[in-house]
């Protein structure tokens, strides 16, 4: 049994890290009242830019490459998310439709560029991957040490840190209070002098940046190249984690870890004795079924921000 856990826990954490980044991006956007179905497309963009930058700069930047690639992916996806912000905040577009467009556009631009640059459907493999660390002291704890703290991807550590930082920002700072008030009752926030449009723009751009990091982490830890199926539903799974986590950063992190666990089981169930008889498909559909159940209220009430999806039009009541 312990062997199984030694095997599954590291895979769980590795598959959860990209979901954590992206789901927390989703929390920022939706807490401000802007639906972001475009997480998938933003992740695709991040995954692509991460690999592209890594391939082109690995020689000059050496071991720093994957980290700088994360930053570049963050910037590009944040810029890409601005499109969604302009459409859904300033132009009052249907936010779901705009998100669908972002998803299609992200994948199309990435694949178009891959074919243009590499002349084939996928990129080469990267050489400089995100490194794994042993965490000093903690790794020496019996049983859980080797399980959680040996050979952890650096990005996983950052992901968990980001979840706590996001919690602090959203719940303990004036900006967070503004963010939440804009998503709940934009008119009341406006009367108090909060700039609704500005806060929403910032939130959507942050969500783009985090989804970009999420994508780049995925491509630089799990696939190590980029092709049409690199990001295949991770963005939507992150959206699911956000909902399952009740629009709370730590809840989203917990849900992402849980979904990572489901993915790890799906990958490795055939090699685990007690699970070998259960078809992998059950593990594959598990996160999605769970999200539907959560939404249906079977797993405790989860309520979205009140003004989610409504453009704010000054002077309208």
């Amino acid at each position: 049994m312990l062997d199984v856990l030694y095997f599954i826990v590291p895979i769980t954490i590795a598959s959860a890290a990209p979901l954590i980044f992206t789901a927390i991006g989703g929390v920022f956007s939706e807490r401000s009242g802007v639906i972001n179905i475009g997480l998938e497309g933003l992740m695709v963009m991040g995954a692509f830019i991460g690999i592209l930058f890594n391939l082109f700069f690995a020689e000059s930047l050496g071991a720093w490459t994957p980290w700088i690639a994360l930053l570049v992916a963050m910037l590009v996806s944040a810029l890409f998310a601005t499109l969604h912000a302009v459409a859904s905040i300033s132009f009052r577009a249907d936010q779901v439709v705009s998100g669908v467009a972002i998803n299609m556009l992200g994948l199309a631009i990435a694949l178009f560029s891959v074919k243009m640059i590499f002349g084939k459907g996928q990129t080469d493999f990267i050489q400089e991957k995100i490194p794994r660390f042993n965490i000093p002291y903690l790794q020496d704890i019996p049983i859980i040490g080797p399980m959680f703290f040996k050979l952890v991807y650096g990005s996983s550590i950052i992901a968990i840190a980001v979840a706590f930082i996001a919690w602090f920002v959203i719940y303990k700072t004036p900006f967070g209070l503004r963010l939440r008030s804009v998503g709940e009752h934009p008119m009341a926030a406006d009367t108090m002098g909060i700039k609704v449009t500005k806060i929403r723009y910032i939130a959507v751009i942050i969500s783009g940046g985090l989804a970009g990091i999420g994508g780049a982490v995925y491509s630089q830890t799990i696939t190590n190249d980029f092709g049409h199926a690199t990001i295949n539903g991770q963005g939507f799974m992150a959206l699911a984690a956000m909902i399952f986590g009740k629009w709370h950063p730590l809840g989203a992190m917990g849900a992402a870890l849980f979904f990572g666990f489901a993915q790890a089981l799906a990958i490795s169930s055939s090699s685990i004795k007690i699970l070998a008889d259960i078809p992998a498909v059950y593990f594959h559909i598990f996160p999605y079924v769970l999200t539907i159940l959560a939404l249906a209220g079977f797993l405790g009430k989860s309520s979205a921000p009140k003004s989610l999806g409504n453009p704010y039009i000054k002077g309208n009541r």
Binding site: F91, S98, L105
Partner: protein, 351 residues
């Protein structure tokens, strides 16, 4: 004199969106060091070049019409069905299964296979419909999740019925939509009778919405739920009905692929994209049956025509996906185009 009536503006918004999409597409080609003129000529030839490609283009349009109808029908009742993709996948599988598993005379087999696809899609739409009607769960998220459930479940089913393989056996000739006549007419393309099924469904949608009592109720719920409730309509029943009918259209879209184009189903690494393009089709067609034909013709043609671009102009096919996504984006931003047009009109009127 009124230069631009409101109706005119309603038609102009999608037209301007298409033009903007094509223009930005041209800019993308320019930046990427491709020649947009040769690109668009290759696209044009890929759509209308000879009778073979015309046949293939029409073949591509049929599932697009059905996916567009599915999205549009739900929209009319105020529901956003992003789950067309999943409903299409289960419909594809159901049709492929009925097509290969039974041996029946054509007059029973083909309608049965089509019916199976419609029922499978309808069931996949029923779940979000019930959840929306009874528990007020937002249909967008549920349908997205149902897409992935469909993908994984169908892949597992294909594996099971093919004994560990990656595709189902071919359907029997008696369930096929393939047509020798249409194929010969278009220089041996894979054009099949599906286009007539799709067009018939356009009429069905028009008939339901415009000529029946439930259609009136469905539209009424879409306009204003509370008013409909007050007028004595059963809003919950109508929400479920709308999702079921929408799912049935989507399922039939899957049948086009199962019984016409491919004749089987292979396990899938990702989505077909037809369901998502259906959103574009419906949006562009303003959710009307006739508009859907227009939208499906445009996007289906672009999608098939794009296949000619790599060979004839050296441009990756994805350029067309970029253009389609941009068109959706611009249609979604219709508000700002509308504002621009109205300003333009007022300025002209002032003169």
């Amino acid at each position: 004199m009124n230069i631009m009536s409101n109706k005119m503006i309603n038609i102009l918004v999608p037209v301007i969106s298409i033009i903007l999409g094509l223009l930005v597409g041209a800019v993308v080609m320019l930046i990427s060091d491709y020649n947009p003129v040769t690109g668009y000529i290759a696209l044009w030839n890929g759509i209308f070049g000879d009778s073979y490609v015309i046949g293939e283009t029409i073949r591509q349009i049929s599932p697009y019409i059905l996916a567009g109808l599915a999205v549009a029908f739900a929209f009319r009742t105020g529901l956003f069905n992003i789950g067309v993709e999943g409903q299409l996948i289960v419909g594809w599988f159901a049709a492929a299964y009925v097509g290969m598993a039974f041996e029946l005379p054509k007059i029973i087999h083909l309608p049965l296979a089509l019916l199976a696809a419609a029922v499978a899609g309808a069931l996949w739409g029923l779940i979000p419909g019930i959840l929306k009607a009874t528990l007020k769960v937002h249909e967008v998220i549920v349908t997205i999740m149902m897409n992935y459930i469909a993908l994984h479940v169908v892949n597992a089913l294909i594996k099971t019925i093919s004994g560990g393989g990656f595709k189902t056996d071919r359907i029997h000739e008696t369930a096929s939509l393939r047509s020798e006549f249409l194929s010969n007419l278009t220089d041996y393309s894979t054009l099949h009778y599906g286009i007539f099924v799709a067009l018939a469904m356009v009429v069905v949608m028009w008939f339901i919405l415009e000529k029946t009592k439930s259609g009136y109720e469905l539209k009424s719920v879409g306009f204003n739920e509370n008013a409909s409730q007050y007028a004595g309509m059963n809003v919950n029943k109508n929400i479920i009905l709308a999702m079921v009918i929408s799912g049935a259209f989507a399922g039939l879209g899957g049948a086009m692929e199962a019984l016409g184009t491919f004749g089987n189903m292979s396990s899938m690494g990702g989505f077909t994209g037809i369901g998502f393009d259906g959103i574009a089709v419906a949006l562009l067609g303003a959710n009307t049956p006739l508009g859907v034909i227009f939208g499906a013709t445009l996007f289906g043609s672009l999608k098939y025509g794009a296949n000619n671009m790599p060979n004839a102009a050296g441009i990756p096919v994805e350029i067309v996906s970029i253009i389609i996504a941009l068109v959706i984006f611009f249609v979604a931003c219709g508000y700002i185009i509308r504002v621009g047009l109205i300003r333009l009109r007022n300025k002209k009127e002032a003169k």
